[in-house]
């Protein structure tokens, strides 16, 4: 039992709840609940955006992806960071100048129809669910590693999902955006510090970056996998070879003998960890080395993945909502610059941790040490467990506790932002606009809180369903993969509408609506085809097989959404009657000049009591 580590996680949770209760007294109006009263300064907002953004995928997934795949894993870090350039260059100040609450408000304000507001709400909810799913999966798996046992008769995975859902629903409903903002600031700095500490401990224990990279690149990458006896002995129809044949070439005679003994038992449910050879998908004639591209992505996916990550950030509703909390357009740009500094340093550290994990874990196991996670051939079977394992090896239970709390902080901060985004979509965009426009402030805030609870329950159900459908077995690095799906959906649904809505006056309501619809559903369709193909439901032949093989649909779906908007807008040609006025709201500066003249652009305090 990791008593100290669990204690540190409990401290984090209690502090989180205390912050929410503290900020409760400052949440009276809907602007407070959804936007923290538009009084969040650049540094605070940048910390909160970074906390919002850095999820389990960044904290556990990036180091895990680097540990498993080398350079192709490093791209996750670079791509996640690069996405903010699209935000700062094309969206940040325009969104803030427009001055609404949500992305759906922007769509309605820009194009003036209820239809586009409602389809945007649908897209916000679907994108948020896609992003919520990996956080829930991360909660279950981290609980399983950290605590190792369930509560109230539930298994460890289920316990993690249920506990995290309950905590999140409570603190977001109680604290609203102010409480969530405060928590995200605190959680971001905790997880940044946890990552920094792991890297410092690695260097303190003799890690040498260029030398470790040279060492890791001496031999081809080894894949680890847990497979049943049947899977291990089933031959590939093309090559006639079984995974067991591949394992024999990689593993030592002693390791392989242990595998053969387990295979001989022929237990249909038992998963046997094995080490397998790797293939270079990019340069097929080259062996796959750690420092070279090709372990995960072929030539097509190298480009598609970069676009998915870079464009996807600009399509995440919980990140875009944060830009409305800035006091001015210039502050929105400053916030983004600081975000790039904060997350950039974090993403420089994460691949170092992943690389350090290879040497330290191998040496530790070779020296007779044991770790909680499953291992084979001196490597972790599940790469996503590299951070807590490395923490335990380098700094004992204390560092493991800091890392585990960092993992939960990453999940909490992202789930908090997603819950606020989903609550604002339902409570603000639907309830306040269509169901009860005359509702009192208290009632509106109450509906926001009920939305948080409802969406939390939905996310919990999805989190619990993931292992039931075998998705965790179908994808080796599921957390990072699922987050990339959310990026793909957001990039395809929102980014074409936002870019054309801000930068092309000729965009019509029909064009934008059609673009969102096409982008949203084409991305979701291809993602599900990919899932069905991995689960063996859809074959690899024909048109379905081609689209099902696309790991990231953005290279198709983003241009498709953009093209749809252009073509439909050109055919339609019906601009809103007040298009000049709308244009002035997006690009006009009179309000900023007025605020600057009277000093109203300065940040106030988030903690002024509502009168």
């Amino acid at each position: 039992m990791n008593t100290i580590a669990i204690g540190l996680v409990i401290v984090l949770i209690l502090f989180t709840i205390a912050l929410s209760i503290f900020s409760r007294r400052f949440t009276r109006t809907t602007a407070d609940f959804y936007l923290a009263g538009r009084k969040v300064g650049s540094f605070s907002n940048a910390s909160a955006i970074s906390g919002d953004y850095l999820s389990a995928a960044s904290f556990l997934g990036v180091a895990g992806a680097v540990y498993a795949s080398g350079l192709d894993g490093v791209w996750y870090a670079a791509g996640f960071a690069g996405g903010f350039m699209v935000v700062v260059l094309f969206l940040a100040s325009a969104l803030r100048r427009f001055g609404e609450y949500t992305v759906a408000d922007f769509a309605f304000g820009r194009f003036g129809s209820n239809r586009i507001r409602l389809i945007t709400v649908l897209a916000v909810l679907l994108t948020s669910l896609f992003y919520m799913a990996p956080q829930m999966f991360g909660a279950g798996t981290t609980w399983a590693v950290l605590v190792g046992r369930g509560i109230f008769g539930m298994d460890p995975y289920t316990s993690g999902v249920v506990v995290v859902t309950a905590i999140m629903a409570f603190y977001v409903a109680v604290g609203g955006m102010k409480g969530t903002t405060l928590n995200q600031i605190f959680q971001f700095w905790w997880l940044w510090f946890a990552m920094f500490l792991v890297v410092v401990f690695a260097f303190g224990n003799g890690f040498n970056y260029p030398q470790a990279l040279a060492e890791a690149s001496k031999a081809p990458i080894v894949n680890t996998k847990a497979m049943t006896a049947k899977e291990l002995t089933t031959a590939d129809p093309k090559t006639g070879k079984t995974p067991l044949d591949s394992a024999k070439k990689i593993m030592t005679p002693e390791e392989f003998a242990a595998v053969e003994a387990k295979v001989a038992l022929n237990d249909p449910k038992a998963k046997i960890p094995v080490a397998l050879g790797s293939k270079n998908k990019l340069h097929e004639l080259r062996v796959q080395l750690f420092a070279e591209p090709g372990h995960r992505y072929n030539a097509f996916d190298q480009f598609s993945m970069v676009l998915a990550l870079v464009l996807g950030t600009a399509g995440l509703p919980h990140i875009l909502n944060r830009y409305y909390t800035n006091p001015s357009g210039a502050a929105a740009r400053r916030s983004t610059f600081w975000v790039l500094i904060f997350i950039g340093t974090f993403y420089i550290f994460a691949p170092i941790a992943g690389l350090a994990g290879i040497g330290f874990i191998k040496d530790y196991l070779a020296g007779g040490g044991t770790v909680a996670a499953a291992t084979v051939h001196g490597m972790l079977v599940k790469p996503d467990q590299v951070m807590p394992t490395l923490g335990a090896i380098l700094g004992g239970q204390w560092l493991m506790g800091v890392v585990a709390a960092g993992a939960f902080a990453a999940m909490f901060s992202t789930i908090g932002g997603l819950l606020i985004a989903a609550a604002s979509a339902v409570g603000h965009d639907v309830y306040e606009k269509y169901i009860n426009p005359n509702a009192s402030e208290a009632k509106r805030v109450m509906v926001g809180k009920v939305s948080v609870l409802g969406f939390s329950l939905l996310a919990m159900v999805i989190g619990l369903a993931i292992p039931k459908f075998g998705l965790d077995q179908a994808y080796p690095a599921l957390i990072a993969m699922m987050v990339t799906w959310a990026f793909s959906v957001g990039a395809s649904a929102f980014v074409p509408m936002l870019l054309t809505g801000i930068w092309w006056k000729g965009t019509t309501e029909r064009g934008a609506t059609a673009g969102i619809f096409v982008g949203l559903f084409s991305a979701i369709t291809i993602i599900f085809l990919n899932i069905f193909q991995q689960l063996g439901v859809v074959g690899k032949e024909g048109i379905l097989g081609f689209f099902g093989a696309l790991t990231f649909p953005v290279l198709f779906t983003f241009p498709l959404g953009l093209l749809t908007i252009y073509v439909v807008s050109k055919i339609d040609g019906q601009l809103p009657k007040n298009v000049d006025e709308i244009w002035m709201r997006i690009h006009g500066t009179a309000n900023e000049r007025h605020e600057k003249q009277h000093g109203l652009d300065k940040v106030g305090t988030m903690f002024a009591k509502a009168k």
Binding site: L71, L89, S217, P293, D580
Partner: protein, 122 residues
């Protein structure tokens, strides 16, 4: 925004915040300047970002030759140098956008005042 006035009675729509007025002419000026700046930086950003996977596919010296310990140029750029590129881009863009805002603010007031006076006179 309590003292915001939208005036659509003349042929040119204008929005007034306190003493400051936006007209479609002044906003178009701001928009064109901002678009030029954003899309110039955007073109550089996408050219550099997409050049990395392109080099990974077609330039062997980029992805396979170690230049510092185990670092290839590809690994060094993606894991470290790319962030300096992003920070430099974001910093210079923000500064230029702020300068542009300041420059255009005075011009916008002049254009807006001239336009509104012209509209009143016609």
């Amino acid at each position: 925004m309590g003292d915001t006035t939208v005036n659509a009675s003349t042929s040119n729509v204008s929005i007034q915040h306190g003493e400051h007025i936006d007209t479609i002419e002044s906003v178009d000026l701001v928009f064109r300047a901002q678009r030029k700046l954003s899309f110039t930086y955007g073109a550089i950003f996408f050219a550099v970002t997409l050049a990395i996977p392109a080099s990974s596919v077609w330039w062997q010296g980029w992805y396979s030759v170690p230049i510092w310990g185990g670092f290839t140029a590809n690994y060094l750029f993606v894991s470290l140098l790319y962030y300096f590129f992003l920070w430099g881009m974001a910093w210079t863009y923000s500064k230029q956008a702020d300068k542009l805002d300041d420059r255009l603010m005075d011009m916008a007031d002049d254009i807006a005042n001239a336009t509104v006076k012209g509209g009143e006179g016609s």
